[in-house]
Symmetry: C2
Subunit: 224 residues, 2 copies
């Protein structure tokens, strides 16, 4: 790819370049489990309804964190360097479903502050120290749920006057290296973009659409 391409993104925000670093730069350890709030989908819907009755529209903020990983669709042994590809960090719950690190805002909390708090809770040793730890960048996508039981959509569905839930995805820029401390009941996985793309069956509609949301960015892969 010609490097000259990188600066011609048109009348945009001017920061469409994202530095990504190899997975080997990051360290992983574990901490005490975070109790799961819902034992079942029915529990979750019940909790959403109670929350809506008390506070109205529920807003979730979720972080998209990227690392450079090696994707080996075929184990050719040779040519490993050639398959480097951006990976998204996902949390896996109970060896089954996947979610982005994040969670629900507290009443009055801003998107950015709420996301920093949630990222620290899910990925840092000490969740009380959030000030400068996370570089939360722009909002890259917003999904809406018009009813408690329905699928989310990347728009407000027609005839929705009172959406029940809204999930905002933010690009989070990672530093050159850091430690991730993950609750024992969750697994942190780096999954290649080409694996989640269009794979709603495994990852759900929100995660499987992340490659779309990231497509306008140029990834500057840094090896040293």
């Amino acid at each position: 790819m010609e490097d000259g391409e990188h600066n011609d993104n048109g009348g945009g925000s001017g920061h469409n370049v994202v530095d990504i670093y190899p997975l080997s730069r990051y360290y992983f350890s574990s901490k005490d489990a975070i109790p799961e709030k819902d034992d079942s989908l029915a529990d979750r819907i019940q909790r959403l309804k109670a929350s809506y009755a008390a506070h109205g529209l529920r807003t979730c903020v979720e972080g998209v964190l990227l690392v450079l990983g090696v994707h080996l669709p075929f184990l050719w042994g040779l040519m490993v360097e050639l398959f480097q590809h951006p990976h998204v960090l996902l949390l896996q719950v109970k060896n089954s479903f996947f979610k982005l690190p994040g969670g629900r805002l507290r009443p009055g909390e801003s998107d950015i502050e709420g996301l920093k708090r949630k990222l620290s809770r899910k990925l840092s040793l000490d969740e009380s120290c959030v000030n400068d730890e996370w570089q939360v960048d722009e909002c890259i996508g917003i999904w809406w749920r018009s009813e408690f039981e329905t699928l989310p959509f990347p728009y407000l569905p027609p005839n929705t006057h009172r959406p029940k839930e809204c999930a905002k995805l933010f690009l989070v820029r990672l530093p050159r290296n850091r430690q991730f401390v993950v609750p024992k009941n969750l697994k942190l996985l780096a999954v290649p973009l080409c694996q989640i793309h269009d794979n709603s069956k495994t990852y759900g509609p929100i995660i499987s659409g992340i490659p779309h949301l990231l497509s306008k960015f140029y990834f500057n892969t840094i090896h040293d």
Copy 2:
């Protein structure tokens, strides 16, 4: 939806609000046909190969133009106002496939200038007058084709050293009203976001992913 939500998009570009106007604000007329370059998919691939041999990576620029339309999933008669929903302007070729207005850049041409030229060619009376007619905003997505025959992806597929084609989508902000002059061999249609979403079979992967790319924007619908 609470209006207070609109300004809390985090550390983003600050212009995530898009004004959209009712379809009734715009006027449509026709002009002479633009000859189609390809009679078949085989012709198209042949042309891509010749273009790549001569000029290298082919870059297409495409415009996403939005209007407020009425979407009627059920003809209830009553409640028409309630179903207003953003629509994307698409060109339909030969009553079959759909495409965004746009096209291939000339060698050395910038994304913005090329897109303005193509928009005028497809949607204006006089294609030579392009200076101030179109308000091309940020790049919202980029798709890559690693080989001439393969599907495009919203990332550079792993192990792609020499991508063959790249399509860049730009948000185009429409004025309060204007005339569209469409070549006789093309049809201009306004299609609701909720109809193209996840409908790759009808609209292809690029168009069906537009709702994802637009999801971070708040639509400010203007009726007067």
